[in-house]
């Protein structure tokens, strides 16, 4: 009995504290001349790794922008909310941010499904979204307020087709995970004109792809495509090596640009043949990436990957829009300004217009390979 009352009191107290502190996004009054960016990221749940990398980069980018004097002499503040990679939490998070009029735009969600969940409300309520997703559909929902901060899925496929044609790889085998990113890639590959001689899938939580690779190996492909968003790519590479498939090139999309994959692949000989679409070679960034790498590389304890670069670019796109929009913009002004933005960032050259909210195309794709356990620019002859 006593313990029950105790637990009840504890829960009530906890509830009271949560009520007091949890509703962080309450309708704030004027925060003294700051620009507020909302960020809805997967900080827990399936895509936590990706969301956290974006968060780290956004924080660093915004700190640097503020240190350099801010935009229009004002500072940028960011409010982060975790949606746990669950679309209905994304919806709640969106409402939480949207009710605060000082939030001028929202960066997120980490996965296409979370973005699609809040896109209708973004259109309805007129809140600009900067969405770091490759998911094809996000810019085809008729939402004028949504801007893509990543190459669209078909850009990755186009880049792969181009490479395969250049190198004369005719027969390609595809191993992809069942997550949204890879499933979409699989669909696009099927329509891409490439000769996909075999296609197998695995669950993102699978720990062994030997069976799938055994099947694919028998189709005698010229190259192997491995597409997925989780660290399973590395396992697939290791399995491929163990099966003796270490002579053919292995290609992956930006989703695999993750050091966890290098780790998981171990000393597999197949790792030498792996080329992955990525953002940057930290050791030799191209011009538009120099500033970003200079900032991020020393501060992050992981190599700069896709999600960090998207966060960085997102923050800068926001800043660029603010500069364009003037000193006291509302959300519509920010939206209009974004359409005028022309920004060369880490992930590519972003150019938006009224008919193009995609920003970046296949020309921004960079191919990387692994040398000494680091991602470097691929040497393709």
């Amino acid at each position: 009995m006593g313990s029950r009352i105790l637990v009840l009191s504890a829960m009530l107290a906890a509830a009271a504290i949560v009520v007091g502190c949890g509703s962080a996004g309450g309708s704030d009054e004027d925060d003294g001349g700051e620009y507020k960016l909302g960020a809805i990221l997967s900080l827990s749940g399936a895509a936590a790794d990706l969301g956290q990398h974006s968060r780290d980069a956004i924080e660093l980018a915004v700190d640097q922008i503020n240190a350099d004097g801010g935009v229009n002499d004002r500072e940028i503040t960011v409010e982060f909310i975790d949606d746990g990679t669950e679309p209905n939490r994304t919806v709640s998070a969106f409402n939480d941010l949207a009710r605060d009029d000082s939030v001028l735009a929202i960066f997120g969600g980490t996965l296409g499904t979370t973005t699609l969940a809040m896109s209708p409300m973004s259109a309805q309520q007129g809140v600009p979204l900067l969405s770091p997703n490759t998911t094809y559909e996000i810019t085809r929902q008729g939402n004028e307020y949504l801007f893509r901060v990543a190459p669209p899925a078909d850009a990755e496929i186009d880049a792969t087709v181009e490479l395969a044609n250049d190198q004369g790889w005719e027969r390609l085998a595809l191993l992809h995970s069942t997550d949204a990113y890879a499933s979409q890639a699989a669909e696009l590959f099927a329509d891409s004109g490439l000769d996909i001689v075999g296609s197998e899938s695995f669950d993102p939580e699978d720990t062994d792809m030997t069976a799938q690779l055994t099947k694919l190996g028998r189709t005698d492909p010229d190259a192997l495509l491995v597409w997925d968003l989780s660290p399973a790519t590395g396992i697939a590479i290791r399995n491929a090596g163990q099966l003796g498939m270490d002579e053919i090139p292995i290609l992956s999309g930006q989703g695999s640009n993750n050091p966890g994959n290098i780790d998981a692949a171990g000393n597999s000989p197949a790792l030498d043949n792996w080329i992955v679409q990525g953002v940057v070679d930290e050791a030799s960034p191209i011009d538009r990436q120099a500033e970003g790498i200079e900032l991020l590389e020393p501060e992050l304890d992981y190599p700069v990957d896709t999600f960090a670069s998207l966060g960085y670019d997102g923050a800068h796109l926001f800043a660029a829009a603010l500069e364009e929009a003037g000193s006291d913009p509302d959300r519509d002004a920010v939206r209009d300004a974004l359409e005028q933005v022309d920004y060369d960032g880490l992930g590519g050259e972003y150019v938006y217009s009224a008919d193009n909210h995609d920003g970046v195309g296949p020309e921004s794709v960079i191919w990387l390979e692994v040398r000494d356990a680091e991602f470097v620019m691929a040497q393709l002859d």
Binding site: A46, E200, E205, T207, A211, R218, G234, Q242, D263, G266
Partner: protein, 290 residues
């Protein structure tokens, strides 16, 4: 369908199956002696892997890190049991299971907070060079896992038959009330069983990490796999757990080989339902489900 294909898939199946077998074994032991179906079994596997990785990265030799991890996980499991599940009366098994569910959720979050989101990997015990087995390639680590499962079975067999504690636990599994009347401290056997199950999970986690990497979210799928293996083999029967694990591994490997892509994921669940409805006692026989 040639021999090499069959062998390769067979070898793959057995290697993966051995992992499931180890985890299912721990799960079964816990269930038998404490009647708790531990929803958090998978999280103990992951914890075992992560602690070992941390120790090894800090400089400990592989074997020391592995052993220390198993001990650490066992201790943690004991503490958790005494603080939570143990306080729920045995007359309410459902509530005890729900508590393990809460623990599983909290544990997964804790793993993410402490160890972050990146996948990590324990170095393989004897390297990555595949071994040639009748024309099929098998990772040396997979052989370690199979050996580990065999050793675990032998050790457990000795424990249950050759030691008083083990015999007591066996007695409790077979007849709780009777054992209690004989003076066996049933409650302590429950704690011990839970700890033992967690220890086995940690062993699995350590052995499997070089193969599959260890990430905080691997817990739930492993728990589900342990359930399935236990049922297919014969729920509550330790031999069943191992047989079921191997069967599950083989089923997965061959369904990938023979079924269209994507559907193969369904095979273990279809098998589970089929066994539950048509042959609940599983492959080897079960006292719990008949």
């Amino acid at each position: 369908m040639d021999l090499q294909f069959l062998i390769q898939n067979g070898v793959t199946g057995i290697a993966n199956g051995a992992v499931y077998a180890l985890i299912a074994l721990g799960f079964t032991l816990t269930y038998n002696a404490s009647r708790v179906a531990n929803f958090a079994q998978g999280q103990f596997v992951v914890l075992g892997g992560l602690i070992a990785i941390t120790l090894v990265e800090a400089g400990a030799p592989l074997l020391v890190g592995a052993a220390a991890s198993v001990i650490a996980v066992s201790v943690i499991a004991g503490v958790v049991y005494l603080a939570t599940i143990g306080r729920v009366p045995e007359s309410d098994p459902f509530r005890r299971i729900m508590v393990t569910l809460g623990i599983a959720l909290a544990a997964e979050a804790a793993l993410q907070i402490i160890w972050g989101t990146e996948a990590r990997r324990l170095p393989p015990f004897t390297g990555d060079q595949p071994v040639d087995l009748f024309g099929a390639a098998i990772a040396p680590q997979a052989l370690w896992v199979i050996a580990g499962a065999i050793v675990a079975m032998i050790v457990l067999n000795w424990f249950f038959r050759g030691t008083r504690t083990g015999q007591a636990m066996l007695a409790v599994s077979e007849d709780r009330e009777g054992a209690g009347l004989l003076g066996i401290r049933v409650a302590w056997m429950s704690v011990l069983a839970f700890v033992l199950g967690a220890g086995l999970a940690a062993v699995a986690g350590v052995m499997v990490s070089p193969i599959s990497s260890t990430v905080y979210f691997h817990g739930l799928p492993l728990t589900v796999a342990a359930f399935a293996a236990a049922v297919v083999g014969g729920f509550g029967n330790p031999v069943g757990a191992v047989v079921g694990g191997l069967a599950l591994g083989l089923l997965q490997a061959f369904s990938v080989a023979w079924l269209p892509s994507g559907i193969s994921d369904a095979a273990p669940f279809a098998a589970l339902i089929a066994f539950l409805i048509l042959r609940p006692r599983g492959l080897v026989g079960s006292r719990v489900l008949t």
